[in-house]
Symmetry: C2
């Protein structure tokens, strides 16, 4: 079924009718396509599900293109970012084209579906801005961090599952809640993997979040557990290139104070809540299980 | 009536519900608001016209925010650009938020209106890319240049007038044609003013188009009229800072070969065609007249 989504993406890209775009198609075709898979799983057999999935993946790709410009990222999904190979300007323009094409295609769906998804793009764009603001100094406010995660990552996943439900006349809120909690949990696990995984698996340097100024959940939990001296040391390492000694100190301190475990506990709790919303859909439960297993 | 548009913009911005945005409101409130005025003029008395105008102005502002990042512009409408004062990243994010908010608000209009306007955003984004591509070398292809003008500037004006017509059940194509030709003519006059006006009136440096690599119509016409030696000299000045001697040479050559006059003739012809499409609407004719008079 995911091939159907790729076919729809290809069709949408062709409709844009500008040679240059085809060249960048691999950017659109890469990744896990989690959002499209969720839509296909919920709105199974609905003939318009692949197009809806394609639109959401297009929105997601557009947001990543701009995200990478803003983070000055060089590597994404194991390959060079468009901003790194073709320059920031190309990445901005390409993102704008994909966003606009996604929105114009969305107008063929019901008002509620189009509104649900386009409103999520407002939230994710605000989330991007909040992410940048938070990274300017050491943030130890868990609530603020989770709000940003919701806006930047979970809102589009929530809107994807909600609109898939709308497509087949099922309850928008139930499926939205599944998507929201899955999205939060997904991002928390991503944040954990940035610390615990290796460069090859990640497709980008390890601990790059903290170097970029992003105090993800494990750092927030670690900070809370440290004594004043430790707090000061952690803060002093914020948004800097880390020596191997410094990285090791952080890793050991996280181990000692169970900062990773606590983050993982929250991810599991959110996953559980997501599962409870759709307890009778085994395929959706399986997606949650697989996601949680990523972190081992 | 234009105050109604500002009120709607204010409302939309408040709905975004992120403090940071209010700070940038002046960016949205500046400018001629040509597109909103056209909508109000065509869909006069329709209670939804101000909201539609606000949405289109929001789209236009978003496109300018990104445009200025791409052109590395420092001044717009006589004030500093967001990318110059707050950095490119802020301008990208702010543009994304405005685009998304505009699209989500558009879903409250009919499919045809939402599709007409969002499709125009695809065109204008492609036009932006084409503009950048064309500026990479000296372009003497008039057809290509006019295609880019249509995509980058006229398509959104065409969609604005067409969707205003749809709002009141009038013919979309007739009003679209008016908007398209007005848009082309408007941009050609802008291109002329970049050469013939002064810095104070323009709110930006004179002849900045050519310095940025943009061969607007007067340059294309001039190139065609020059002998081989002149052609070579003009090409050698492309995309460079110009000395006053060089600027003067271009200006005198344009005078001698009537390059400005020819450009202005095309603008007048397009204005005439625009007027013929809506010959019975004096207000729309007046807008055309005022626009043409800008160039004296």
């Amino acid at each position: 079924m995911i091939e159907q989504v790729d076919k729809e993406i290809n069709k949408l890209v062709k409709e844009i009718n500008y040679e240059e775009i085809n060249h960048h198609l691999p950017v659109l075709m890469g990744g896990k396509r989690l959002r499209a898979k969720l839509i296909l799983t919920i709105a199974k057999d609905n003939p318009r599900a692949p197009l809806l999935g394609a639109i959401v993946e297009m929105i997601h790709s557009a947001s990543l293109l701009h995200d990478d410009v803003i983070d000055e990222a060089t590597v994404r999904r194991g390959r060079s970012c468009v901003n790194a190979t073709d320059g920031s300007k190309k990445a901005i323009m390409l993102g704008d084209i994909l966003y606009a094409k996604a929105f114009s295609s969305l107008t063929f769906f019901s008002h509620e579906i189009a509104y649900t998804l386009s409103s999520a793009v407002v939230l994710l764009s605000v989330g991007e801005m909040m992410d940048v603001e938070l990274a300017k100094s050491f943030n130890d406010n868990e609530q603020k961090y989770l709000e940003m995660l919701y806006l930047k990552t979970a809102s589009l996943i929530e809107a994807s599952t909600a609109s898939a439900a709308l497509l087949i006349g099922k309850d928008k809120d139930t499926y939205g809640l599944y998507g929201k909690n899955l999205g939060l949990s997904f991002q928390i696990i991503d944040d954990i993997l940035d610390i615990t995984s290796d460069e090859k698996t990640l497709g980008k340097p390890v601990m790059s979040d903290f170097k970029e100024g992003k105090c993800t959940l494990p750092y927030i939990y670690l900070y809370k557990s440290l004594d004043d001296k430790g707090k000061e040391r952690l803060k002093s390492l914020h948004a800097k290139e880390l020596s191997s000694d410094e990285s090791l100190w952080i890793l050991n301190a996280m181990k000692k104070h169970h900062a990773i475990d606590k983050s993982f506990e929250l991810a599991k709790r959110l996953t559980k809540e997501a599962g409870e919303a759709v307890f009778d859909n085994m395929e959706l439960i399986n997606i949650l299980d697989k996601m949680i297993q990523r972190s081992y």
